[in-house]
């Protein structure tokens, strides 16, 4: 018997496809955001509110993942932006290959902002890189504030945590201070925004976060271009 050392990730193939996607996104100036939460936390409604506020002609597109039905795509398509449903047919997460296939028919440089709504699940999506620039995890106040401790793998990889449905705070025993504390414990670097898609509270901050990602990267891009032209 011979032992062969193998130092590589098990999801090597997914990571390779995700790296290709990330490179394409960067080349075409597309900002890709991956939204993860349990079922019913409000990902689709948050996306509806987000799309409703964009100017027509804004180059934004949505991929939405579900195990069955294209209900979410139908809801999201009403806002006039390109939307595609990925029906996984049983798989509990999106992977980089599904995203690659779904994007194949779109002009990649026609999208400035790509929002990916993952399958509702706080466990499985966390292992699968989709080539995104930022990962957003939603937690609604009806779920209990200890979700970050119960699903640390998912919250640990969050760039932003959206605490959703804050209009329901008077009716549920959700402690916002504890939720923030638990998020901080598993991911000290995550930003946190409190949102209600019903009252509209916090949506401006959420939109600013989306825009800020873009603006920061734009300025970095401009910087790179400037340096390149100086080299020439």
């Amino acid at each position: 018997m011979t032992r062969i050392p193998l130092e590589r990730k098990v999801l090597n193939e997914n990571d390779r496809l995700a790296a290709d996607l990330r490179q394409d996104f960067q080349r075409h100036g597309t900002r890709c955001v991956n939204l993860i939460s349990s079922p019913g936390s409000g990902k689709t409604l948050l996306l509806e509110r987000t799309l409703a506020a964009f100017e027509p002609g804004r180059r934004v597109a949505v991929l939405t993942g579900d195990i069955q039905t294209d209900n979410d795509a139908q809801r999201l398509a009403r806002y006039g932006f390109p939307v595609r449903q990925i029906t996984t047919g049983g798989a509990c997460h999106l992977d980089a290959r599904m995203v690659t296939t779904a994007l194949a028919e779109w002009e990649p440089d026609a999208i400035d902002l790509l929002l990916i709504e993952n399958v509702g699940n706080l466990v499985c999506p966390s292992s699968y890189d989709l080539g995104e620039e930022a990962r957003v995890v939603l937690l609604s106040v009806t779920e209990g504030e200890d979700k970050p401790l119960k699903y640390p793998a998912t919250f640990h990889r969050a760039d932003l945590v959206v605490l959703n449905k804050v209009d329901l705070l008077p009716y549920v025993p959700f402690r916002m201070d504890l939720a923030r504390e638990y998020i901080r414990r598993v991911q000290p670097d995550a930003e946190i925004v409190e949102v209600s898609c019903t009252t509209g509270a916090g949506l401006d901050t959420w939109r600013q976060w989306l825009e800020r990602q873009k603006t920061e990267d734009r300025s970095q891009e401009t910087e790179v271009r400037r340096q390149k032209s100086e080299v020439r």
Binding site: M1, T2, R3, I4, P5, L6, E7, R8, K9, V10, L11, N12, E13, N14, A91, C92, H93, D95, V123, C124, S126, S127, Y128, L149, P152, A153, T154, H156, Y182, R184, R185, V186, P188
Partner: protein, 114 residues
């Protein structure tokens, strides 16, 4: 339950190594971090179910669990995180970052002598 797709990815890699070395793979060793989001028991169940009654059998799965460890950004202390206490036990700083615990990696494969 994404352990089935992970087990599937592992077996693709086993087949590739088997072809490369022209030998039967007897065992595959993986490292699974506490924060990888992968449950060892489900993974073992799915792995065995996929291997059973195929040309890959017999194939053993050897799992090494890696605990969650953080490193302090202030004093560089490396420590095990217990009960979600991420502050540095040496200097008390809250500024710590993950050092290990997210792994989902192959460590080795054992192949039959040819």
């Amino acid at each position: 339950m994404h352990e089935m797709s992970i087990a599937g990815s592992m077996l693709e890699a086993v087949r590739a190594e088997s072809v490369r070395h022209n030998a039967h793979v007897l065992a595959v060793g993986v490292k699974i971090g506490e924060l990888s989001g992968v449950d060892s028991e489900s993974l073992r169940f799915c792995f065995d179910a996929l291997v059973q009654d195929t040309d890959l059998a017999p194939l053993a799965l050897q799992i090494e669990r890696l605990p969650w460890r953080n490193r302090c950004r202030q004093c560089a202390q490396d420590f095990a995180v217990l009960e979600y206490r991420t502050e540095c036990p040496q200097c008390g700083s809250a500024e710590t970052e993950m050092a290990s615990g997210q792994e989902l990696e192959f460590a080795y494969m054992e192949i039959a002598e040819t």
